[in-house]
Amino acid sequence: MNLQHSMEKIKPIISKVGSEEIQSTFNLLKERIDYPESFVTLLGETSSGKSSLVNGLLGQPVLHVSSKPTTGTVVELYEYDVETNITPYALLKNAKLRRLSPEAFLQETIQPSEDVMRVRLNIPKMPHGLQGMRLFDTPGYGSIHKEHEEVLKEFIPNSDVIIYVVNYRVGIGENDAEFLQFIERFLEDDINFFLVINRAPSHVIANDVRIKEIVNLAQNLLHSDIKYFIVPSIYGDGIKLPKANDLWSAVRDEVQSDQRKKHVGEVLKGYQIQLLQQACIPLQKQLTLMKISDEEIALLQQTIKELSEKKVKANALINQTFERLNRQVPQLFNKAKENMDNFITDEIMESNKWTSSQECVGLIQAHLLPRQERIQRESITDFLEVELNQLNRQLEELVNEAIIDFQTKIESIGSQFDSIVGNITKHVLQKTTDGALKTFLSTYGGRGGAGAGVANLAKKSLKKVGEVFGKKFSRNTHNGLASFLKRIGATSTRNITIAVSIIIEGVFYVIEANIWQGRLIKEVKKGTNQWVQNTSSFVIEDLKKLKQINYENMNDYFDSFINIINTEDYNPESEVQINELEKHISEIEALILDIKNGCVVV
């Protein structure tokens, strides 16, 4: 049975349930199965030539290219065969699409309007046989901070392939190095990495010293052998459309590899099962309600009340922890800044007033400040890791205890609850184990619709579904936490680079031997000040979100049980017979089994 085939079987069952929510989830899933997609992200410093590559791919100068930094927002290439020409849209923050005129398109790419999330080009047919590829051209690392955020958060972790573009003449700079180090942390999650050395003089070949240097450094930073492509410079004044045939074929081979297809297939299969289980719950609720007596309902309500009390307790725990963290984080950052300042001031004062101004600046820029940043930042992220893990552990204990208690009590009321409790547990486990199906599908939107973000199916893997049956609650916030910490790292490093550039600018012309030290110290303090402000506020902001996620997960979990018999679902007038319901449920269960046992045919 292939995925489409399964969908055909699922369709009538779902429509019989009559839930709008489940129906729309079904539709989204169906679309995903009918139109498989892959995600490719172009990254690299400003002016490394990413947009030229895109133009080369399309065979026409669609994106504006100039020697100045040009791309100010993420540009998405989206295959949409309904259109006959390449058509630009703006993807708005309110999840709507706005068609753009050529002028408006140019304007939005360079300087996006307030309400624009990113720009999208609908492409009737992707060249190089790259069907279903969604390609994201990102602004250079050196440009706007806000965009950088989204790139870190959404695009890198969710990509199938990352194409990193380096200008041959510039090589890998500090910004690149940081960026690559950040990417390295995601590489094991089966993201493929291709390095493009762009604008190479036409005679350059693989054993050119510069190429070797660039590739070596990239390999040292990424800790793996990487595929790289040399794209030659195009001379003259005309329109430049670099042909990177090797690159695009390699991308195609990668995203269309059997292995990747199979993986995606497994994931989709998991979602099908999850969808069916979700569909089962309202039926089971109804069935249970038809079977139980008023006395039993009263008992149940008492038990639910006790569970609600535990929910309040869990919320209080979350609240308490985050309040404390909100107090501590600014303190830690201030202390970190103080440490950095003191350390570097000592360094500056100790160096020779007359001879070492240049070297001192170089050392601060290349080594001392970045290292201090790392040491101080790591102590803060280590701190957060311990605290958040602690919270996680406490919540886990609390929830497990509450749910076990709840289940035991329910069992003592009567056996008619067994199947519904079992199914809810399963459902919730899946949700907490691997991201909710609904969230997943709605976040990255449907074909032609206005997806708000990207997501790679393979990343939202449900491969663990089989393993979690029968197990108790274990919140899988670990990944969330890890990426939270990674982002702090990236942001903090990014901010120190900005600080460094402030310092360098500030002292560039000061060569008088008697004043450079004082001046440099002042500039360093200015730089670290900016670092502490930006980074600390970022962390606080992210903590808020994390708290929110914690609340939502926790309440979602409790509510699934608290609403176990939600009388709103119950229609006493319903003409549905008990045996009909039972038949429907067993139909679903049989199909689940069927899908589970079937292998995936892509």
């Binding site: 090589g171 700079g173 500090e174 190095a177 010293v209 240097e213 070596n216 450094l217 390999q219 040292n220 930073l221 800790h223 404390r324 107090r327 501590q328 303190q331 830690l332 202390k335 970190a336 440490n339 240049q358 070297e359 001192c360 170089g362 050392l363 820029q365 290349a366 080594h367 290292r371 790392r374 790591e378 102590s379 280590d382 701190f383 311990v386 605290e387 893990n389 602690q390």
Partner: protein
């Protein structure tokens, strides 16, 4: 030391009566493989030692946590121990009870001790500025003080900070950790426990479970900062404890060392109370005084257990003798079978240990090689970027190179410590399944034995359980982050020596690039050497650890062989015994039992 009356008499008879000694030696058997002492000798040894036992309390922590300040505040009325903002103490200083407070003894690695009388001169040996990297090769310094806390044989030790250990004083530091009775570990509020501290604490946790953690409060830190910081530090310690799979309780006390020191120097009791010092002194007093009670208790318990065992064994033997030679022989046969069964089971456990060692050894090797490879690549990338920023030579480069190496090592060592701790825990779990035989002939798993027994009498314990890996890791950790006298600097000197002064102007851009390439090429060798040496020393640690466990397993086997042999001898003796001789032996046993039971003080 004064024992209770009954015990005292008993001890006297034990030590003086040849007959008691003979019975004990015969009944409780051979020398202990570990200590090479007989039961009686162990007891005598303990008795003797308890009269002049010392209670070592080293003060541990990373540099700059205020260890010396704390000890000054606790025991001195002057700044005897030098204190500065950064790393100060470079050699261990022992503070013990003595009336002559103005005499200080400096002990050396390679020559006779020197006695000095001027406290000011102490600095010449203790302070890192005057004795950098302990170049004077001081092994430790003794300071005397007539402070009440030091009575009862309590010795405080001011240790160099973790991270400022040199190759030469690392061994002495580890010796103190090895023999500590309790320890004080100094922490800070901000920053909270760092990676380096955590790695260190993790690697010596088995020893530190008896540690009193003190969080040094700085004046500007507010009450809520302190409380939050304390809570966090406890969380980190709990995490370390859980990684070590123990359930020791953890407490962290807050002391404002600065205020405590001021209070002490100006004789201001209120300040001492406010700082938290007074409370802690009281706690220390009760802890150390009850320690001497505990020592006494331990000896009393050891005796009680010994008597009980002897009586059990005698009664058991008498019961067998009363059955007559034939049935007696049969019974021995049955017991032998039981013993063989247990030995078979134990051998299976030992084989599992062996298998685990083989697998884990190569696993950990692999892991270390991987980590070192990563570290090497990181180091290369770091240096490439630094050189690209035109730091191509001179002190700056040397220094950056050294620091990058340190950072890389810290990460690798943390991985290393974790994998050894996990291996240790796995091994302990396996070892706990080993069955041991108590003197009265019954078997129990080691785990039950060590749980129920109120004291661990060294006898029956196979030394496979004294896994020393944690300490090896600690030694290594201290060494790696220490001032790198050896291999780290050797590499740096090569690079640093090759280049002249800094060229910075634009017109020489081409030269600049060539220079960058040259520097990078030159760096290749020291980076490779660094990685190789790091890898070698870590692998050696693993191998040493593994072979020490293997040796332990061999000892267990040897002991089992000896047991089987003894059992066989006993059988043969009964089988071929003359009936008169047999009856004589029975009478002797009965007489021995009566004698032992007649001794005063037996419960």
């Amino acid at each position: 030391m004064v024992l209770t009356k009954g015990c005292y008499k008993m001890t006297l008879s034990l030590l003086n009566e040849q007959r008691t000694i003979d019975i004990f030696n015969r009944v409780l058997g051979k020398k202990d493989l570990v200590t090479n002492l007989s039961y009686i000798e162990t007891l005598q040894h303990k008795m003797k030692n308890s009269n002049h036992a010392e209670f070592y309390v080293p003060v541990l922590g990373i540099q700059g946590t205020g260890k010396s300040s704390f000890l000054n505040a606790l025991l001195m009325d002057d700044l005897i121990l030098p204190v500065d903002a950064d790393e100060t103490t470079c050699v261990p200083v022992e503070i013990r009870y003595g009336k002559n407070c103005s005499s200080f003894i400096i002990n050396f690695d390679d020559k006779a001790p020197v006695s000095i009388t001027n406290a000011k001169d102490l600095e010449q040996y203790i302070h890192n500025t005057y004795n950098p990297g302990n170049e004077k090769k001081v092994s430790f310094i003794q300071v005397f003080k007539d402070h009440p806390l030091l009575q009862n044989g309590v010795v405080f030790v001011d240790l160099p900070g973790v991270g400022s250990l040199t190759a030469s004083n690392i061994e002495t530091t580890l010796k103190y950790i090895e023999k500590l009775s309790a320890a004080i570990f100094m922490l800070r509020t901000v920053p909270p426990i760092t990676r380096l501290e955590a790695s260190f604490i993790k690697s010596v946790w088995s020893k530190l479970s008896k540690a009193w953690f003190i969080q040094n409060q700085w004046n500007e830190e507010s009450l809520s900062e302190i409380e939050d910081g304390k809570e966090h530090n406890i969380h980190v310690l709990e995490k370390i404890r859980d990684a070590n799979q123990t359930n020791d309780s953890i407490s962290v006390r807050v002391i404002n060392v600065y205020e405590a020191l001021n209070g002490q120097l100006h004789n201001n009791d209120q300040m001492k109370v406010n700082s938290g010092l007074t409370d802690f002194v009281q706690f220390l007093q009760s802890a150390t005084s009850s320690w001497s009670e505990m020592l006494k208790d331990e000896i009393v318990q050891l005796q009680d257990q010994a008597y009980k065992d002897v009586i059990d064994v005698l009664q058991n033997e008498i019961r067998l003798y009363e059955k007559g030679p034939e049935e007696h022989y049969e019974q021995l046969r049955i017991e032998e079978e039981k013993l063989n069964d247990v030995i078979d089971k134990n051998n299976r456990v030992l084989r599992s240990i062996e298998d685990l060692l083989t697998i884990k050894q190569s696993e950990v090797h692999h892991q270390i090689r991987n980590e070192v490879k990563r570290g090497k690549e990181n180091l290369r990338a770091d240096m490439q970027l630094i050189v690209k920023s035109n730091v191509v030579d001179g002190e700056g480069l040397t220094r950056a190179f050294k620091e990058c190496q340190q950072d890389v090592s810290t990460t690798i060592v943390d991985v290393f410590v974790n994998s050894l701790i996990n291996l240790k825990i796995d091994l302990e779990q396996l070892s706990n399944q080993l069955q041991i035989r108590s003197p009265n002939g019954s078997f129990s798993s080691f785990e039950d034995f060590s749980k129920t027994s109120s004291f661990k009498f060294e006898k029956a314990l196979p030394n496979v359980l004294s896994l020393g890996g944690g300490l090896g890791a600690a030694a290594l950790l201290g060494f790696l982050v220490s001032n790198p006298a050896g291999w780290m600097t050797a590499g740096i000197l090569v690079v640093g020596g090759l280049f002249g002064s800094f060229l910075g102007s634009k017109t020489k851009q081409v030269t600049q690039e060539t220079r960058q390439r040259n520097t990078l090429t030159q760096l290749d060798q020291p980076i490779g050497d660094f990685a190789k040496k790091l890898e070698q020393s870590l692998l050696k640690q693993v191998d040493d650890f593994v072979s020490s466990v293997r040796k332990g397993a061999q000892e267990v086997k040897k002991e089992q062989d000896a047991l089987q042999e003894a059992e066989y001898d006993k059988q043969r003796a009964i089988r071929f015994v003359e009936i008169e001789e047999y009856n004589k032996q029975l009478l002797q046993l009965q007489d021995d039992l009566t004698y032992i039971q007649s001794l005063e003080g037996i419960k």
